[in-house]
């Protein structure tokens, strides 16, 4: 009684059975709170749907961005430096240049395309044969295509390399194929930020939705809370089922969000593969892996718990029997 250590009634449970009882009480709250959702299917479903949509939206956008980044990373392999050589260069001069280039530590491989080869290639790819036939001389220069090592591909490194390559006598023009890629990557960084902010905004809305549902639930069960307090329930005891309720909202909403994301991915898979095929790429669409899926659901659970905690915090303490 009144907080004294003395036992108010002769057969109060001891500490071990109390611990076991606590675990059991947690389990009971867990099941009870799920039962509550089940018994109010309309309201629960609505809340869970709102959570699912709010989480699926940024998750989908993030995944699409992820795919875009993966595609551009694949293109990195073809991120090369093309040297357009002086058309008057002799084979011997070009051979000497190739030897010099081979000593540069940034360069992994060198591919030489002579002016004749370039013309032949152009002829086979384009349908402009009659135009080419009419040319008096080959307008195409010989080219050297250099593939830098992965480590050398950082922007600053490449700029220096490009400058250095420009100093060779036979080199007329240096073209870095990666500039547009860098721009694309810069864009993805911006988009990434935007998605992150959107995600945070929607996460806050999930908090509020769960918080509001739990608050309504508390309001509806005010009498039950008063009765429980009248017969000696602590705030913690009363709070527990509501917190688990929030957890269930989070778990079910997060699970549904994951299903929505997978659904979106399956729907866009075929047209996306078609698009990728048009670019002669063998890229495969990235689906969320187990870790990402779990992260989504875990985030949702944390948001649910946090939302209910916010609602429960002051509310339950304030409900007192009168």
């Amino acid at each position: 009684m009144k907080g004294s250590r003395r036992r108010p009634s002769p057969s109060r449970p001891n500490s071990l059975t109390r611990l076991r009882a606590l675990v059991r009480e947690h389990l009971r709250s867990l099941v009870f709170s799920l039962g509550k959702l089940y018994r109010h299917p309309f309201a629960s479903t609505l809340t869970i749907l709102v959570i699912a949509v709010a989480l699926a939206l940024p998750a989908c956008m993030y995944l699409l961005l992820d795919n875009l980044q993966a595609v551009t990373e694949k293109w990195d392999d073809t991120g090369q430096i093309t040297l357009f050589l002086d058309s008057d260069s002799s084979e011997a001069e070009i051979g000497k240049l190739r030897e010099q280039l081979a000593t540069l530590e940034e360069i992994e491989s060198i591919r030489y395309v002579s002016a004749e080869q370039a013309l032949a290639e152009f002829r086979s790819l384009s349908k402009l044969e009659y135009l080419i036939e009419g040319l008096e001389e080959n307008p195409l220069p010989p080219t050297l295509t250099l593939t830098p090592f992965e480590q050398a591909k950082q922007a600053g490194h490449l700029d220096r390399l490009v400058q250095e390559l420009g100093t060779f006598a036979q080199v007329e023009q240096v073209q870095l194929d990666m500039q547009w890629l860098q721009r694309l990557q810069a864009i993805t960084v911006v988009v990434h930020r935007a998605i992150m902010m959107l995600g945070i905004t929607l996460a806050i809305s999930v908090l509020l939705v769960v918080g509001n549902s739990i608050r309504l639930d508390i309001e509806n069960r005010r009498e039950e809370i008063e009765v429980a307090k009248l017969i000696g329930a602590t705030n913690r005891f009363v709070r527990r089922p509501f917190l688990y309720g929030g957890m269930w909202y989070g778990l079910l909403g997060g699970g549904l969000a994951l299903l929505l994301v997978l659904l979106v991915m399956y729907v866009i898979e075929a047209p996306a593969q078609h698009l990728i095929g048009l670019y002669n790429s063998n890229f495969e669409l990235i689906f969320p892996d187990l870790r990402q899926g779990l992260a989504l659901v875990a985030t949702s659970i944390v948001l649910g718990l946090l939302g209910s905690w916010l609602a429960v915090g002051r509310h339950i303490v304030r409900i007192e029997p009168s």
Binding site: M1, K2, G3, S4, P8, S9, P10, S11, R12, P13, T17, R18, R20, A21, L22, R24, E25, R28, R39, E223, E224, E226, V227, A228, K229, L230, I231, G232, A233, T234, F237, E320, P321, S322
Partner: protein
């Protein structure tokens, strides 16, 4: 067991609900609290259960001063007593068994112990066959007996009842009072607020009369 010393309770903006009230209830005693509506019966019970706090004076339960009991200690105080309400305060979304077991769940008893005690309490109020029923399907008298079973299932030292027979016919009321007497016989201190003077005067227990927040006739009426 229950002691009020010079207790005054004033609700904001109203006159005193209780004025300088002294009251002692010994361990194992059974008493009735009576008087017209607004005499302060309910307020007195609320003060004992720490639902309300006195404006002035001291309240002792089991020799412990609860006048300024901190909120976090109130649950333990309430587990020390059982409270029966006029309108039962049952939870209508769960069975009789679950209603009665609530105090034991709160106190953290094992499932086996809960089962045993709930059955014993239901047996005591002759409702053992209704343990799976929902409270709404029971009659008023049965619901009140469920409320009593819930109030005694954790074997409290003090049993408080606020108009427990308020909605019942005389026959049922007598049965309910008989139940309270039986609990008193096993040592529970019982305090019952009731305006049913006919009934309580026949029971031959101590009667505390209140009017306008004051005792009007303090002497014990022993059988």
């Amino acid at each position: 067991m229950i002691e009020l010393q010079n207790v005054t309770k004033r609700y904001p903006g109203n006159r005193d609900a209780l004025t300088q009230l002294d009251l002692v209830l010994k361990r194992g005693e059974m008493a009735f609290l009576t008087g017209p509506s607004g005499a302060g019966k309910s307020t007195l019970l609320k003060l004992i259960a720490a639902i309300e706090r006195p404006t002035r004076g001291r309240i002792l339960i089991n020799q412990k001063n609860i006048t300024h009991i901190p909120k976090r200690k109130i649950p333990n105080l309430r587990r020390f007593m059982g409270i029966v309400f006029q309108d039962h305060h049952l939870l209508y979304d769960r069975s009789v068994f679950d209603n009665v077991s609530l105090p034991l769940q709160i106190a953290g008893y094992t499932r086996a112990e809960i089962s045993r005690r709930v059955r014993a309490a239901l047996d005591k109020v002759a409702l053992l066959n209704k343990e799976k029923a929902m409270p709404i399907t029971l009659s008023g008298g049965e619901q009140q007996r469920v409320g009593i079973a819930r109030a005694v299932v954790h074997k409290p030292a003090i049993l408080l009842a606020d108009e427990p027979t308020g909605n019942l016919d005389p026959g049922l009321s007598a049965e309910i009072m008989q139940l309270f007497s039986e609990f008193n016989q096993v040592g529970v201190t019982v305090l019952i607020a009731s305006h049913d003077l006919d009934l309580i005067s026949r029971l031959g227990r101590r009667i505390i009369r209140l009017q306008g927040g004051q005792r009007i006739n303090g002497q014990a009426q022993q059988a």
